[in-house]
Amino acid sequence: MTELIRLTAAELADKLAAGEVSSVEATQAHLDRIAAVDGDVRSFLHVSADALATASAIDARRAAGEKLGPLAGVPIAIKDVLATKDMPSTAGSKILEGWLPPYDATVVAKLRDADLVPLGKTNMDEFAMGSSTEHSAYGPTHNPWDLTRTPGGSGGGSSAAVSAFEAPLALGSDTGGSIRQPAAVTGSVGVKPTYGGVSRYGAIALASSLDQVGPVSRTVLDAGLLHDVIAGHDPLDSTSLGDVWPSMAAAARAGASGEALRGLKVGVVRELSGQDSSAQNGGFQAGVKQRFDETVAALTAAGVEVVEVTAPSFEYAVAAYYLILPAEASSNLARMDSVRFGLRVRPEGGPATIERVMSTTRDAGFGAEVKRRIILGTYALSAGYYDAYYGSAQKVRTLIQRDFAAAFASVDVLISPAAPTTAFPLGSLVDDPLAMYLNDVTTIPANLAGIPGMAIPMGLAPEDGLPVGLQLLAPAHEDARLYTVGAAIETLLTDAWGHSLLSQAPALKEAVK
């Protein structure tokens, strides 16, 4: 049944609703695919043992004539940053190895209520710190387009799972681009909702004021269907918004008609488009720029008015981000102390006081990047430096919000490449933190401002044949606009190509069973 794995979530949902396929069949097909290719891709840290049982229970209820939700019976992969009652939740860290949470994250509970079928937990950079998934304590995930390259990060496991047809849908989390950049370099679709649009309760916190959970998929419509399941106010998350959200799936369907592009005003953010390739702007790869320019041309041809906008303070975004994130992370990760859960390591010699047990455990349980950022964050918050660092970074956030407000006063959406480069080779940046940080230059401003962002495929880079992603940004609360415009651009491009980008992906060799 390998055909089942190539269906989009929307197509699969239709077949399930029509009774043409059962959830058990669909789930089994994906479990087979995982068994076949995950040895090479390594998207999953844990594969659920209950998936088939869950699926057959859903089939039974459907057979009994029960009215089920639009995605009922559709399998889904869950980033390991989310607490799941029945599956270990480690956030890619050794310090949480084997931890079975006594509760479900709100978004996970919503998935279960909507009768999706959790397939397992996907790999990620430890505590979502990284842009390549190489910082996972459990080894890197490989990019299905080229197994010698990274799938991006931190959510490389989810983007690889979706682009390797191991799952039609996945959940990710995006603190500085961890959904959008992996989507870009794997030719998939990823959305970071408006901050507060999706509950963070049960999402293992990296940076509380930046984190957002969001959908990963192969089409804009699929992302919208999943977005509709997870969005909404959660009283357990005090930063959760009270908005009554329109259906993102409906917004995507409206966009697919193509009409949406006529009369649309789109802004190209100068600072995010490699117009000047100065160091802090990151070196934009030629093929990335080329595909972006072609996309802009295609949009203009389709009747879109494209203008350039500038956001001068974006130059400071990466710097502000690497102060705010470590500061909040150093505090959020303090609870990893060996007392109530997780790893406990006793010191070698000397008295094993709790203080030494904590320090030894945290030294043994955290990876190099996590320690680097905890120390940096501790520094940024420590006496005498707060104003110069954390305080100043919070002011930069204000300036960035002003730049966005000014830009959105004249355009409907902003666009830029979703990442400055295509997937980079495993090991190429892992020892160069600064270069790795700069890979998020395009995605970070949206997190600092809390606005929604989307990444969709816009072709393959000529020089390496690897996917290039387009980023769309809309004002806060206007997530639906992203889906309408994103679906319209998706239709425009795929019609031009005559096929979906992912159908270009090399067939991964199926291990012989």
């Binding site: 006594p102 005090s238 150093s330 120390i375 520094y379």
Partner: protein, 99 residues
């Protein structure tokens, strides 16, 4: 901005309760100095008249009513405990005084 010295890194590691090896202290000292240098520029534009933004989407007065919600069971609460004694979490002897 201040110089990142090995002693400062040791002090920070103490605050962060991480028992860094000397090798780690050394490499972190170098990396941190480099990172701090590249991010210190935020203070250039953080002028006094700019207000700080702590939350990207401004909200205020978000409350929970004072109504009891079910807690975890004791077994759930202790399910992840590296060590327990009875229904309490067990930890090694404590050196420091309470705060």
């Amino acid at each position: 901005m201040s110089e990142i010295s090995a002693d400062l890194v040791r002090h920070l590691a103490g605050l962060a309760r991480i028992d860094l090896s000397e090798a780690e202290v050394e490499s972190l000292t170098g990396e941190l100095a480099q990172i701090v240098e590249s991010i210190a520029k935020v203070s250039e534009v953080a002028t006094p008249e700019v207000v700080a933004t702590s939350h990207p989407i401004p909200l205020s007065n978000v409350f929970r009513e004072d109504e009891v919600r079910p807690s975890l069971t004791v077994e759930q609460a202790l399910s992840g405990a590296p060590e327990r004694e009875g229904d309490r979490f067990k930890v090694a002897a404590i050196l420091d005084e309470e705060q």
